[in-house]
């Protein structure tokens, strides 16, 4: 199919899709006129039932905890996929271990170096705060994990490539990635030991507004934070290696 035919074909289908979509939203309530019962019900009962203050995370890690487990494993599988695609080819290196050192990275500008150095500590603290306070304020494991994972990148941008190399090649990164994914499932399984259903919130709920409240919501949020942080660090490490290897190959 030539690209012109394809575009024409697409435009016809798009017109059809747009028509069906317009037809579909015709009977939706107008913006701001929220009618669905679920949002109203859950905001009324969540705080009393599970003792969190952030209902979004109560839904994420409790009411639809099983779904989030699935989403977490999509993330896990994606990271595994990247690792698999960027693995060293068999004939290049028989041991299957990558020899490329990240120290071969291109030098970083002074502006970045100076401005980034001060941010590392702040980012780590903020990331941990986000991941552990998901039950109280907006945030949670997914957001906190991404912020935590950015901290090593900021270390890299501040010019401490050796430190970055040490952080990202530490076995703790992989442990966080795998332990985080397994931890979520393990918390779900733990409920089975107490004769409850999978992912039932079995930990005592505590006092609403306390750091240690809302039972498994807080625990799962922290565990997810670990996994996301580990996953993104692995992604960054592999992409950086790939970029450096590509450059070295071209220089040869």
């Amino acid at each position: 199919m030539s690209s012109r035919t394809r575009t024409v074909f697409f435009l016809c289908s798009a017109a059809g899709l747009a028509f069906v979509f317009a037809w579909g939203i015709r009977d939706l309530p107008p913006l701001g006129d929220y009618r669905g019962p679920y949002g109203n019900v859950v905001t009324q009962v969540a705080v009393y039932e599970r003792h969190p203050t952030d209902v979004v995370n109560a839904i994420n890690y409790d009411y639809r905890g099983f779904d989030t487990l699935g989403e977490e494993f999509i993330f896990f599988a994606s990271v595994l996929g990247v690792l698999l695609l960027f693995r060293p080819a068999g004939d290049e290196d028989k041991k299957g271990k990558r020899e490329t050192k990240l120290e071969d990275a291109l030098p970083i500008s002074d502006t970045l170096r100076v401005s980034m150095q001060a941010m590392v500590g702040i980012m780590i603290v903020f990331g941990v705060y986000m991941a552990t306070h998901g039950q109280l304020t907006p945030g949670g494991g997914f957001q906190g994990g991404v912020i935590l994972a950015s901290a090593p990148l900021v270390v890299y941008l501040s010019g401490n490539v050796k430190t970055f190399e040490a952080i990202v090649s530490s076995p703790l990164v992989k442990l966080a990635e795998c332990g985080g994914a397994a931890g979520y499932a393990a918390i779900g399984m733990a409920a089975l030991l107490f004769g409850a259903h999978f992912l039932t919130n079995i930990v005592p709920f505590g006092t609403t507004g306390d750091l240690f409240s809302s039972g498994t919501i807080a625990v799962i949020s922290a565990v997810v934070g670990l996994e996301i942080a580990g996953g993104f660090v692995l992604l960054m490490q592999n992409y950086l290696r790939e970029i450096i290897e590509e450059r070295l190959r071209k220089e040869k």
């Binding site: 107008p30 203050t53 979004v56 990271v79």
Partner: protein, 115 residues
């Protein structure tokens, strides 16, 4: 009409993303189009959950029973944003490998199978 504008924007973003995927001449550009297409779902979900006068569904400093927007659609979205980033990374790593193996990132020229 304004009441249905966000739904229309969602459809608009979705169709442009789709148009980009169909006509793309570069796999990296195509991956970005997939990301754009996916953001249309955020617009749609947020529009569905919005309530006039509703505030954020966090009861840290407001009493329970205050009118808030639907937290359900927000919970659906926030995991998706992070997962999407990882899926983008996976897609881009495929592009890198395609470029290594075939020497091109033009989907038109990638019309062969390699075992």
């Amino acid at each position: 009409m304004l009441a249905y504008l966000p739904y229309a924007i969602a459809a608009w973003v979705f169709l442009w993303g789709l148009y980009g995927i169909v006509t793309s001449k570069n796999l990296v550009h195509q991956v970005v189009c997939v990301a754009i297409l996916q953001t249309s779902t955020y617009v749609l979900l947020l529009a569905i959950g919005y309530k006039v006068g509703g505030t954020a569904p966090v009861f840290a400093d407001i009493p329970v029973g205050t009118s808030v927007v639907d937290p359900l659609v927000q919970a659906l979205m926030l995991t998706d944003i992070v997962v999407e980033a990882a899926v983008m990374a996976l897609l881009l790593s495929m592009v890198v490998k395609a470029n290594e193996l075939a020497g091109t990132v033009d989907p038109e020229e990638l019309r062969f199978l390699m075992g």
